[in-house]
């Protein structure tokens, strides 16, 4: 029996977005990337932009995002995705252009590209996965690693005297005149997922309406890097990450214009 035969018409209450293909994801069980990939795919589909989307993947855990979501992809050098996106959007203004980046890519090696693309009011969206650790390279300190948090390169916990403070780049982005919509979301509960999806949709729509640049941060877990079960990681995130990285919209000038 095929899947179609099993599922009767009219009985479908939930399905995988068509843009999300069947390639098995390399993400660890419990990782937030899979959920965010699904949300991005759903929004593109729902906006009818499947044939007009150009996405930019980073270096980091999401480097292979292009294998999972069936749109056109450009794989950038580490940190440079916003530069690729800037040129791509200016050269193809009617396309939906977004980058998908992690904390190391966006807030460390690519800080200049991030800040300047946002401040030039490039009509793009940056999806920012912040799990406070370098996942792909094996759990080293990120610019967003919390004070006291242990990683492979701060094994005794992040200390101000040794490593400085965690960077709230989303707060910085909200101060830039070029940004239209800056928000911080999470995907650890159904309610949070619904809010995150609305945020992504809003950001994509603003970018297509030419309202400026948009940043959607998703505070995420890294159960492998954090060395916790998915469930425990979610709890730890709620208790520690949200204390420092407050959820909610930081800026929304799109609606009034």
């Amino acid at each position: 029996m095929t899947r179609e035969e099993i599922i009767e018409k009219g009985q479908v209450v939930y399905k995988k977005p068509t843009l999300l293909n069947d390639t098995p994801m390399h993400y660890c069980p419990g990782c937030s990337h899979g959920v965010v990939h699904k949300l991005v795919s759903e929004v593109i589909e729902e906006m009818g932009m499947t044939d007009k989307t150009i996405a930019i993947s980073p270096v980091g855990c999401a480097v292979f995002a292009y294998k999972y979501i069936d749109v056109d992809w450009q794989e950038a050098a580490h940190g440079r995705a916003p530069a690729l996106a800037s040129a791509t959007k200016r050269l193809w203004p009617d396309r939906l252009v977004f980058t998908y980046q992690g904390d190391g890519d966006l807030a460390c090696i690519g800080t200049a590209e991030t800040i300047h693309a946002l401040n030039r009011a490039e009509n793009i969206t940056i999806i920012f996965i912040n799990n406070a650790i370098y996942g792909m390279t094996g759990g080293q300190m990120a610019p967003t690693t919390l004070l006291g948090m242990k990683t492979a390169t701060c094994p005794y916990g992040r200390e101000v005297s040794l490593h400085g403070y965690p960077l709230k780049i989303t707060e910085i982005a909200a101060t830039l005149d070029g940004t239209c919509y800056v928000t911080r979301q999470a995907v650890h509960t159904v309610a949070a997922i619904n809010r995150a999806k609305k945020a992504i949709r809003k950001a994509f729509e603003y970018s297509m309406q030419g309202k400026g640049s948009n940043l959607v941060e998703i505070v995420s877990t890294c159960n492998s890097g954090w060395k916790m079960s998915p469930e425990k990681a979610n709890k730890w995130m709620e208790e520690n990450m949200f204390e420092f990285y407050h959820l909610g919209d930081l800026k929304d000038t799109g609606a009034v214009k």
Binding site: K52, D72, Q74, E75, R80, A83, A87, R90
Partner: protein
């Protein structure tokens, strides 16, 4: 006939005008002496109001080259320009573009190094341009203009070659060619390609899945070594084809020459003056000027070895192209190098003295 007007302009300005005229879609750059007139001229010309060309001053050379990378991914004709220290910063992006097999134009108006160096002319980025420059096994197609006219002409040529082979191309000029003014006839206007033409000509480009085609993915990443070797071998086969088909050079007074100077760019101009002086003193010397530095005219230099008693490699550097000349002649004839460093340009008289004392 307005297109055929002879005008006087700097090499850097000629690059900008030629870019607009050859249907370039986008320029992304960052100011650095001695090439800033490229971006300045584009900003003054406002091509976004005429041809629709995008012109953007980036926040760094790193960003510029990655904007070029992004633009090239979409099949558009995109370029950047810089000078030596800026081009060093671009090497990562250039390597990615070579790996992802993307057509684009990079202009390097060289200045003296190493480091921050000087702002005066130099040819000391020959190795960087011709031997890869960034990481990995790759080559750029490298064109060396020797006049303002060639600055104008090589823009379209570089784009043509870049798209023919899906490989980044470089115009390797220097501060002298960039800053001097000469007569130039700008190339005729060619319209920018329409989106339909781009989608047809570049079926690999990330233009969006128009018509519901399969997704296009541009990447230089392949973690499976066996696959990565296959990709490398394919790229290497492309390089062999370029070497076989795209060598360009100029010969000057070589017919009866007993000695040959090999020089490119502004050094070749100095060489011509030196040859005039030397011939007036009875020294039969000629010039072979590589126009493509990669692919290098290896066969032509090799053939010289059977015709002349000695070869002088005149470069405004400490001796870089001389290595390719020596490889080509296989020890059959003495090869000497002469160059000045740090932004000093050799003058024609001293080249003649070197010729006399070298052989």
């Amino acid at each position: 006939m307005a297109d055929q007007e002879i005008t006087l302009m700097k090499g850097n300005e000629a690059i900008a005008h030629a870019a607009i005229r050859c249907g370039c879609d986008g320029y992304f750059g960052y100011p650095i002496t001695p090439q800033s007139e490229v971006l300045e001229t584009l900003a003054e010309q406002k091509p976004w109001e005429t041809t629709g060309m995008v012109v953007l001053q980036a926040e760094s050379e790193v960003s510029s080259i990655n904007m070029v990378y992004g633009g090239a991914c979409t099949g558009k004709k995109v370029m950047t320009s810089s000078s030596s220290p800026g081009v060093s910063l671009m090497q990562e992006g250039i390597s990615y573009m070579a790996g992802a097999e993307l057509p684009a134009l990079i202009v390097n108006v060289m200045r003296g190094g190493p480091g921050l160096g000087t702002i005066q002319p130099s040819q000391s980025d020959y190795f960087q341009a011709c031997k890869g420059g960034g990481h990995g096994d790759y080559h750029l197609i490298v064109l060396a203009p020797a006049s303002v006219q060639e600055m104008a002409d090589f823009v379209d040529l570089a784009f043509t070659l870049a798209f023919r082979y899906r490989n980044p191309a470089m115009i390797l000029a220097d501060g002298a060619i960039g800053q001097m003014m000469e007569k130039v006839v700008l190339p005729p206007f060619k319209p920018r390609r329409t989106e339909e033409e781009i989608i047809k000509e570049c079926p690999w480009a990330t233009t969006g899945r128009i018509g519901g085609r399969k997704p296009n993915i541009i990447t230089s990443l392949e973690l499976r070594s066996e696959e990565m070797e296959v990709i490398n071998l394919r790229i290497q086969a492309k390089y062999r084809e370029i070497e076989a088909k795209e060598v360009r050079y100029e010969e000057f007074m070589l017919d009866d020459a007993e000695y040959a100077i090999v020089a490119f760019g502004s050094a070749a101009r100095i060489a011509k003056k030196s040859i005039e002086i030397a011939r007036s003193q009875g020294i039969k010397v000629g010039l072979l000027r590589p126009i493509t530095l990669w692919p290098f005219p290896t066969e032509e230099v090799k053939a010289l070895a059977g015709r002349v008693k000695g070869i002088l490699s005149l470069e405004i550097n400490a001796g870089q192209m001389v290595e390719d000349i020596r490889l080509a002649v296989e020890g059959k004839v003495p090869v000497r190098h002469f160059g000045r460093l740090g932004g000093i340009i050799p003058d024609p008289d001293e080249v003649v003295e070197v010729l006399k004392s070298s052989f």
